[in-house]
Symmetry: C2
Subunit: 271 residues, 2 copies
C-alpha cells in the first residue's frame, strides 16, 4: 500500500486532496511541519508527499515554495480542491450556544464576514482540522471550530453552519511529490524555479525563452532568496511537457540567460 505524507492532523485539506489523487487505497502519515514532510520523503518513510502549493485568494504557500527550492523532490501531479469552511461543534450543540471559535488564522480571516456578524470570541490555533480535535477534547459545548465538512465527519462532530467563508472562489492547489523526476504520459505542464542576474532587463531576457516559442506561461511568482535580502527567485509554470522539443530548447535558452535553474516537475494539469 502506498504511503502518503502530509502536514497536519487527520481530516486536514491535504488528506482530502490525497484521496482525490490516489484512487487506490493508501496509508497516511502525519507530520508536524512542511519541512518534516520533505524529510520523511527523503528518508523513505513515505512514497509520496501531498502539500498545498497555492491558494486562489492568498497566493503561493511560501514555506512549501521555499522547501521546493532547497530540497530534492519532484512534482508528479496536482490536485485542485475547493475550500469550503464550515462551523463545527458537538452533535448536541446548537449555533446559538457557541461563544468560542477556534481555527487557523488563515481560515479565520477567510470567514471574517460571518465571524463579525456572530460576535464570537476568536481563538487562533495552528490547524483547521486540529482545532476540531481541540474542541472535541475540551468537551466544551460552547466552543466550535472552523474546518472542512470532511473533518467534521471524521471526528464525529456536527456541522453547525455550512458555507461560512467570504468568497465562493476559494481553491487550494496541492502538489503530489516524489523523490525522483518522473514524467507520466500526457504531462502538459512544467514547473521550474530560476534566478536572474540583478541588472536591467534580466527577467525580460529570461522570459524571452518562452515568449519567442509561443509557450504559455501559466504562473509566475517571486520568492526572497534566503539570506540575500531583496534578491528573488522566480517560480514559473509553463504549458508543455519537459520531453517536448520546444520546451527543452526553451530551457536551454533560459539556462544561458539566468544564474540558476531548477526543474521541479512535468505533470498532468488535469486530474
Amino acid at each position: 500500500m502506498k504511503k502518503i505524507g502530509y502536514q497536519g492532523v487527520r481530516g486536514c485539506y491535504s488528506e482530502q486532496a490525497s484521496k482525490i489523487f490516489f484512487r487506490e487505497s493508501i496509508e497516511f502519515k502525519q507530520y508536524k511541519t512542511f519541512r518534516d514532510v520533505f524529510e520523511g520523503l527523503k528518508n523513505e518513510e513515505i512514497d509520496f508527499a501531498v502539500l498545498p502549493i497555492r491558494n486562489s485568494i492568498t497566493g503561493g504557500i511560501r514555506e512549501v515554495m521555499d522547501l521546493l527550492f532547497e530540497e530534492e523532490a519532484y512534482v508528479i501531479g496536482e490536485v485542485t480542491l475547493k475550500i469550503e469552511h464550515v462551523l463545527i461543534g458537538f452533535p448536541e450543540s446548537s449555533l446559538n450556544e457557541i461563544e468560542y471559535v477556534y481555527s487557523h488564522p488563515e481560515a479565520l480571516s477567510q470567514c471574517k464576514n460571518f465571524l463579525e456578524k456572530m460576535n464570537f470570541k476568536i481563538i487562533p490555533s495552528f490547524d483547521t482540522a486540529g482545532s476540531v480535535m481541540e474542541v472535541k477534547s475540551s468537551g466544551k459545548r460552547n466552543s466550535a471550530a472552523i474546518a472542512s465538512k470532511y473533518a467534521a465527519e471524521l471526528y464525529g462532530m456536527k456541522v453547525l453552519r455550512e458555507n461560512i467563508q467570504d468568497s465562493e472562489n476559494n481553491y487550494t492547489q496541492f502538489f503530489i511529490l516524489r523523490r525522483d523526476l518522473f514524467i507520466s504520459d500526457g504531462s502538459d505542464k512544467t514547473s521550474l524555479i530560476f534566478i536572474t542576474e540583478h541588472k536591467p532587463g534580466a527577467l525580460y531576457k529570461a522570459l524571452e525563452a518562452f515568449a519567442k516559442r509561443n509557450i504559455n506561461m501559466l504562473h509566475l511568482e517571486s520568492r526572497p532568496i534566503k539570506d540575500q535580502p531583496w534578491n528573488y527567485s522566480f517560480y514559473v509554470d509553463i504549458e508543455g511537457n519537459l520531453r517536448d522539443r520546444k520546451i527543452s530548447e526553451a530551457l536551454k535558452d533560459l539556462r544561458e540567460n539566468t544564474l540558476f535553474i531548477k526543474v521541479i516537475g512535468s505533470y498532468k494539469s488535469k486530474w
Copy 2:
C-alpha cells in the same frame, strides 16, 4: 501635529518605522486591521498611514498589497527596519522560570531555533507588541512575549534574551502613504501595479517597456486577482521618477500592452 495611523498597538514595528521617517513630533492612531488604516486615511482621521509592504524573509505583506490595489492611497516614502525580536518578561522574571511564550505566528516561526531549544509552550497571538500587553496584564511571571526591544521599553518590561531570531537578515520595508499622489524632489523609485492579458508572451511584452529603455526593475511580485481564481496582477518597483521622460514614456508603452495599470507612487528609496 501630523497624525500617523498604523495597524497594531503601541510599540509595534510600524510605530518604530514612523519614528524613523517623521523626525518631527507626531501623533499616533492605532487601528485593528490594515483595511481600517486605509479607511482612516480616506476619512481624514489621519494624515499619513505607515504600513509594512514586504519582509526580506517572508516576502510581500499580501493584505497590504491587495489594499493598495483596491483603495486610493499613494506612497510618498519607504523605511527599512531591521527586525530584532527579543524575549520579554516581567522585570522580576528570569529566563529559567519562563514556561509560556506568546507572539504572532510569524514572529514565532522566525525564532524557531531558539524556541525549539528552550522547549516553551507556545501560544499564538494576533500581535507582537500586543503579546507584550497580554503578558503584562496577565501578571503571570512564567509567561513571556516575543516582540521588539522598543516594545519592552514602552511597556516597562524586561528583555530576558536578545537576538533570538534565526536569521540576521530580517528586514521589513514600510510604505508611508497619503491620500494624494505627491512626488517629492529627488524621488528615484516608482511603484505600480499592472494586469496583462492571459496569453502567451503577455508579461514579456509588458516588461519590454522597461527593458528597451534600460530601466532597472527592482522588484516584481504577483498577487491573485480577487474573485478571478488563477488570474494575477503584478506589483513592480522600477528605478526612476514618474516625472522623468524615460519613465513616463515607458508607462505609456506599458499602458498599451496591458489591461490595467495603476501608479501607486514615486518617492525616495533612501531615508
